[in-house]
Amino acid sequence: MIMVKNLTKSYGDIEVLKDISTSIAPQEVVCIIGSSGSGKSTFLRCLNLLEEPTSGDILIEEKNIIDKSTNINKLRQQMGMVFQQFNLFPQKKVIENITLAPIKLKKKSKKEAETQALELLEKVGLSEKADAYPSNLSGGQQQRVAIARALAMEPHVMLFDEPTSALDPEMVGEVLRVMKQLAKEGMTMVIVTHEMGFAREVADRVIYIDGGRIVEEGSPRELFANPTHERTKAFLSKVL
């Protein structure tokens, strides 16, 4: 599904990602953990080219996205992204946030898009908020709308960039519940997170990134119970 080969990313002289290689299988749920500044968000943002890699290859469903001939806009339609800061469109109602891309990019009729949006809102438990504006929603509700917005493009992969880090603690659960449901339905997911409990419960694989490198990866059971690297041990002892 996703294949990353020798990915590096530098800002000037500072190398934030160093020779990262990994792959993600269809329907796999991968959690990326690590301390702030480790490069884990940059790695995620490279997967849909919100950050331009300095070198290396990224293949999404066999297409090399580094290749200039690849239509990145088409490709991003198949990769949903959820941001730490939600980034809903404040001037648009919840339902318009969700229908905008399907109407403009998939040429769906307004009616078709709205029917789909209402289904998605029901899925994330916000049917009654269709006509609200984002500013009238709580953080957790906004993030669930953001997930619905990304799902409306019927993506093959969902990328989550610290989806619960900007939320009040009591709202984290409602967002994680939606993500758990998605995982159960077989969505391929790459999640940068600080929620170790969630990673342990939902992830098929956990990747620990430190200093721009993959230090260790494995099933949550192995990685959390028996980390092999000193750095992983040190990190986990702080967060668990």
């Binding site: 806009n73 088409k74 991003r76 339609q77 941001f83 800061q85 001037q91 990019l105 493009m153």
Partner: protein, 218 residues
């Protein structure tokens, strides 16, 4: 020469015509200047130097020279070398539009840059191109924030048109000058002229306050 009331009564229709010209030039040039501002703004934000530099030079020249010089330059200066003829009206329109356009460039840029980067990223991550994201997502938000500044520019445009009297356009100031040159009632006439400017501009700011209340969301 009659009473003050007669002076006012006689002058009023002519001043009203002058005011019409003032408003006409202001409104047309603010519209043109919005187009100029939008284009120059995207040039200034472009990653290509070849687009960025001309826009930056344009903005800096306009900001760094008096509008009176700009008007004289476009009416007398440029046509003499370029071998073209511009009517005073056209030259005036171009001068005011270019002048306000430069300030609009910076207003657009400031407005667009004030919208969080996350909006652009959210649009791009859904598969929209840069231009689509600008058009559907960023600009609609930015323009709301810019409304007060644009109205401010309109009031500037109205006042700046009084400079066009130097190239003989019959706008409000010019008409006023011609009248008191004949009847020597400079106090009465200039008071009327000033009042007519004031009422026009004050009306514009009232409308703007209502617009702001309607469109500006926090």
């Amino acid at each position: 020469m009659g009473t003050t009331l007669d002076v006012i009564k006689d002058a009023f229709p002519y001043l009203l015509q002058g005011l019409y010209m003032t408003v006409l030039i202001s409104v047309v040039s603010i519209i043109i200047s919005l187009v100029i501002g939008l284009i120059a703004c995207f040039m200034r934000m472009s990653k290509y130097t070849i687009l960025r530099y001309p826009a930056a030079i344009y903005v800096n020249i306009i900001r760094g020279t008096p509008i009176l010089i700009q008007i004289l330059f476009i009416y007398f200066g440029a046509p003499s070398v370029l071998d073209i003829h511009l009517s005073a009206f056209t030259a005036g329109l171009i001068a005011i539009s270019l002048n306000i356009g430069a300030y609009n460039t910076e207003i657009f840029r400031g407005g667009i840059e004030s919208i969080s980067k996350g909006q652009m990223e959210a649009g791009r991550s859904l598969g929209f191109t840069y231009s689509q994201t600008m058009a559907y997502i960023v600009l609609p938000q930015a323009v709301r924030r810019m409304i007060p500044s644009f109205v401010n520019q309109l009031t500037h445009a109205i006042k700046d048109t009084s400079m066009l009297s130097v190239i003989g356009i019959a706008e409000l100031t010019m008409v006023g000058q011609s009248i008191y040159a004949m009847n020597f009632k400079s106090f009465e006439i200039l008071t009327m002229v000033a009042l007519m400017y004031f009422i026009t501009i004050y009306t514009v700011s009232l409308i703007s306050t209502r617009l702001e209340r309607r469109f500006v969301i926090s």
